[in-house]
Amino acid sequence: MVERSEISRDDALSRPQSGPMTASELEAWFVREVLPLEAQLVQFLRRSWRNASDIPDLLQEVYMRVCEAAQKQIPVPAKPFVFAVARNLVIDHVRREHVVSIESVSDPDAVETAAEEPGPDRSAIARDELRRLEDALDRLPPRSREAMVMKKVDGLSRKEIAQRMGVTEKTVKWHLNEAVRALADILYGPEGSA
């Protein structure tokens, strides 16, 4: 019988497995294997699709298709599969909408699918991560950054933030909402890795 602790679950996920996944297994896989590809994925979509305002919807659709497939069978490795899905999606849209020519779909094989290089040591990762986060903070809209620092770094409640910023709680809620979304875009999107 297999012990089911969090650690053994992570181990289990790093090798190919069949059978349906639970929602939390799917989440763990998605966060670990798919999200780190977002920067390259967005770059690929931008090259392949003229209308920039469609990119968030296209990205969501790629993620949907990838996760739907992964629910049945986890693709190992994830990267070629994710980009194949993205390419097929773009082709589908091109056919359906006749907006752009098929030539505008760039060669997804050009997106390198090389194996991961051996990782640097742990403290270097932590330093890099902290630098990346500080960098991400700098890129947030100023008011959102202010609200987020009070929330995340100082651990203040929404009410306390509202008092300190001299705005309503509703405004704080909006600033924080914007901060959460912008943070994800910066950490996972191409802007962050620039």
């Binding site: 989440e27 993620y63 996760c67 403290s123 932590a126 991560e129 770094v153 651990g155 959460v180």
Partner: protein, 315 residues
Amino acid sequence: MSAATDIQTRAADWLLERREGEWNEERQAEFDAWMEESLAHRIAYWRLDAAWGRADLLTAMRRPAFQRRAGSKRKTWPNILRAVAAAIVIGAVAGAVQWFEPGKTAEKTYVTAIGERERLTLADGSQIELNTDSQVRTEIAANQRKIWLDKGEVYFEVKHNEKKPFVVMVGDHRITDIGTKFVVRRDRNDFRVSVLEGVVRLEESRAAPKILTEGEVAVASANRTQIVRQTQQELTDAIGWQRGVLVFDHTSLAEVAAEFNRYSTAKIVIADPKTAALTIDGTFPSNNSRAFMRLAQAVLGLSVDDRGNEIVISK
């Protein structure tokens, strides 16, 4: 706004709301339903949650807002009567008089499990909040209000009533109050009283009565009581538990572990004294020692061995 952006906005709202204090079963059910509704919802939530979780590392950037030692007056009381049960009487200038049914007594016990906290309004209108793993018994009578702090930590916001003293018993020790905001924390036979608001009088059989003003903390152990003055920031940090956070400022990892262990059945064990002496700054959710350990692992380069009910950390 695109459909995907709409979903992200909703997901971000959920994410933030779940981290605010007013989360309850009803909201959880609504959140579950929203997540269940579509895979797109789940993916959007997972993505934002992952990003927000990564930003936990930012808590490590928190700068101390004050210098702990500088400007703090420290008075030590001599040990006058060793091993004599000390009676501490805290009195304050009384305010409004409350009406109570004469002779009526109601005894109640309130308990919080590890990781829980609970805010209550007593029959006399006073408010108390129990921190993790705490127990009090209350007895509201016509001429006296009595609370036994059996274990743990409790915040008191006492409704003034000069005719009806508010008594807190800590073992053999006796704390009487007639109206203010203060916190009593008990660790077996040691306890501390922190005054957040108002002026209180403190009497012990082993020492002369003292006036404790706002910002003063009496730290009592078996044979002596110290009075320490704390800044507003220190006081606010110390009651961070009321908003679900622990605040550390140059705190040793040993103390940090002891604090987290109050809130969790999974206990952090530090393998060696060198690791125990590392210091931590920052604000962390009190109910997630594993998240803290992951952070310590990343920032301090510690190795963490999670054995379920025991999390062993070493250099």
